[in-house]
Amino acid sequence: MATQLWVIILIGAGTYLLRAGSLVLGSRVRWSESTKKWLSFVSPAVLGALIGPLLLLQEGKWIPLANNSMLFAAIPTMIIAWWSRRLLLTVAAGVVFYAGFHALFG
């Protein structure tokens, strides 16, 4: 138990220091225009990197497209998102779509 506690303390401290350290340093450094422009593309790139595995993989394995109810639900969700540009509406509609596809295909 003591070992587990120490492992948790070290990971938590390390994670927080990485978050806070880079945030504080990042706020002090004067980035060049080109770097700023590059940094503005980190956000969509990370969004894509979060979405891809969530929709396509389950525990690191490819989900066959015909059985992938998340992917099915993602299509109408994208349409709502594109059309409405509303965060909460899109999330609510997406969850309803997913519940529907999940009930239909299991």
Binding site: I11, R19, V42, P44, A45, L47, A49, L87, V91
Partner: protein, 251 residues
Amino acid sequence: MNRLNRSNRREEIQLALRDALPIMLAYFPLSMTYGVLATAGGLHEGIAVFSSVWIFSGGAQFMLLGMFASAAAPVTIVSTLLLLSMRHVLYGATMGPYLANWRESRKWLAAIGLTDEGFAVISSRATLGNVILPSYYITFALAIYGSWVAGTAAGTGLGSFVTAELAEVLTFALPALFIALLAGGERTLPYLAAAGCGAVLATLAGMLQLGGVGLIAGGLAGATIGHQISRRRSERMNPVQPEGNSERTMR
């Protein structure tokens, strides 16, 4: 402080809670699952809750359970998970410039909210040209943090008062949130190419069981590709292009 400022602050807090709500809805059952799995795996209840309070990183905590179960050496666990957390450096470096005028102590408080999902929302707001105020960011960070801790506590203590069925349906809140953020951002070829590249690389990395490396590789390569395409395009179209369009909003 005058009345105008105070009502602004109330608006900021409302906006923060509205932005945090999808994440809170997604975090709660996820974190509850963590609590249930942790205690089922033999972790003391108090330690399970403490790990959510102290670490606040879903990816790291679930991997931690797996590594405790496989009895990995403590040094291996710590070094692997800190490697996984290196992706936060990318997030911090991206968000830092938007907080340049903040008081130092507030930056340290805001850092709590720099999870994958938190970064996704806040950086999308910032890239759209919204000014990120401390009242907004810190409210947002504490709201998602609270949901995460409460979820673990519920999972370890009361078993499950969210049914398995409901928890399963709510797992879609996260991909839906990311889709909404992507569609609410810029809809230009460079942005979409950055997202596509990130998605492909992270999926490949996931299939190779590389975990958090996919987010770093996808983030770095996607940003570079997006940046390159946008540079080529602006060179071709017109050499001097006015930047930024604060008209775009996302509600």
